[in-house]
Amino acid sequence: MEPLEIFKVETKIPEEAEAYKSILSDVMSDLALANAIGRIYVIITPEDSLFQMAIILRGSPPLVKTSDFADVNIGALGKNEIQLVLRDEKYLPDLLEKLWAKYGRGKVIQQDRKTINVSVGNIDSDIEIIKEMIIFDPKRTLLSRLVEMAIRGTPEGFRVRHHSLNDNEFIFVASEDAMKPEWVQQGHQMLEKIKGGEAFGSSA
């Protein structure tokens, strides 16, 4: 699935849909979500104070291991030491947290911005453990960013909200008044529509 291969916003007045599309794309780019969302379909009915959104995510992004962003090697000769040289600093805080938790602060020494030395008991086994250590789960922040996007995108007064995330399918319904079951039902129908994909056509 391509990123944003379907991006459709519907309102009674077409110009209003255009304006909302621009708001949603701004929110998505602010939250770095554009790559994670495959298909998105939004219907806004201001007369009923109703905002409905169905999203299909582009499948789970892979877990990030130490070896994905750092070279893990044996450190100085004669010491039981493993040296990590970072290629990407983005995950440094998460990496340090994990190393501190496992080996203790005293044994993890960050020499400079991109080099970390870890004193270990057994070099051969620990080098494999560190290489395969799961440092970051993109899915964890994805859900919170998705909810954030829904809240920022919805008109502010619509504070009665329903949302559900099943695997890669996200439904969000918001209104000012008490939630009606048929609105949520319509959300599920919207999801079915974009699941069909091609027949529905793309306006992205």
Binding site: T11, I13, E15, E16, A19, Y20, S22, I23, D26, V27, D30, I44, P46, E47, S49, R152, P155, E156, G157, F158, R159, E176, D177
Partner: protein, 311 residues
């Protein structure tokens, strides 16, 4: 008769800008606001109409830029339904920015419960605060139905001219209670920088200018007993403490008054006793009340017909 004053903004280097201030003082103009920023300075001033060419000439010599600022001497409330990220900073702050470029002083007001359709409402305190300004500009969103049918209830109790901005292109008459509706500035979540967005802001600034012009004409029919700029000058001369008020605009001019940003309890006596001319105190020609904005002082000037004097 007092000279007719024209509003101008000077933008230029800080070097030798005092020459401009001296010239302004010599010809009886008023400096409304001075904003130094590093090596640059922005001067908002009122210049006697007959002497505008002198100021223009000097500004040219100093390699500065001088432009007419029709909104000078006005205080405009830019009201957004709430302070949430849905409404701020774009587009309400961009609207305020454009009004300030026109010379206005703006107050950003976020209502506590202005969001939504059925649930939108404003509090008494908020309405009173908005009413202290010259013009209230409400920044609304994208939906035609909301702007026409639901949001105008926020106008209730607002006695000053009301400008509404929003996304759809609708006529002023369709928005009940608004004195002016300006389209193409709806809810936008990026900085307004595309040419059509900037164009819409220019139109907005121009249309607000028309309303200011209309209020000025109204005032001219029954003039103020004293010009707010004159009060400003007297405050600067007679209440030295104003020099140590560190707000961006310690004396904020309004079309029919002035906001003095000093604590009411400590200074209202001094302000009331301000001597404007022999035996004429400020309290004789204006009402001095506590402002709803912090603990400041609000002065509203009475009309000539009411007090029988024009200074």
């Amino acid at each position: 008769m007092a000279a007719v004053l024209e509003p101008y903004i000077y933008e230029g280097g800080i070097h030798r800008h005092t020459l401009l201030l001296e010239l302004l003082e010599d010809m009886g103009g008023y400096l409304i606001q001075k904003t130094p920023a590093a090596t640059e300075v922005t001067l908002v001033m009122l210049v006697p109409r007959d002497d505008v060419h002198l100021i223009e000439q000097l500004a040219k010599e100093l390699l500065g830029k001088i432009s007419r600022a029709p909104l000078t001497g006005t205080e405009i409330a830019v009201v957004s339904p709430t302070l949430a990220s849905h409404h701020l900073p774009h587009s309400a702050c961009d609207i305020a920015e454009f009004l300030r470029r026109g010379g206005a002083n703006t107050t950003m007001i976020g209502l506590a419960r202005g969001m939504g359709r059925r649930v939108a409402l404003s509090a008494d305190y908020e309405r009173k605060l908005i009413n202290e300004h010259d013009i209230a500009l409400f920044s609304f969103g994208t939906f035609r139905d909301c702007i026409i049918n639901k949001k105008p209830k926020l106008f209730e109790g607002i006695k000053i001219p009301i400008v509404a901005t929003g996304g759809p292109d609708i006529k002023t008459e369709e928005v009940p209670g608004a004195d002016m509706y300006i389209g193409n500035i709806g809810r936008i979540s990026h900085r307004l920088r595309h040419s059509d967005e900037l164009e819409a802001l220019d139109v907005m600034s121009e249309k607000v200018g028309l309303i200011v012009e209309k209020i000025r004409e109204d005032i001219a029919r029954d003039p103020l007993a004293v010009m707010p700029a004159r009060i400003m000058k007297e405050v600067q001369e007679q209440i030295p403490e104003i020099e140590s008020a560190y707000t961006p605009a310690p004396l904020t001019l309004q079309l029919d008054g002035i906001r003095i940003k000093l604590p009411y309890a400590d200074f209202h006596k001094k302000v009331e006793e301000l001597e404007l001319q022999d035996n004429i105190r400020l309290a004789d020609v204006a009402t001095v009340t506590p402002s709803k904005m912090k603990n400041y002082i609000l002065v509203k000037v009475k009309r000539k017909s009411e007090v029988g004097i024009e200074i």
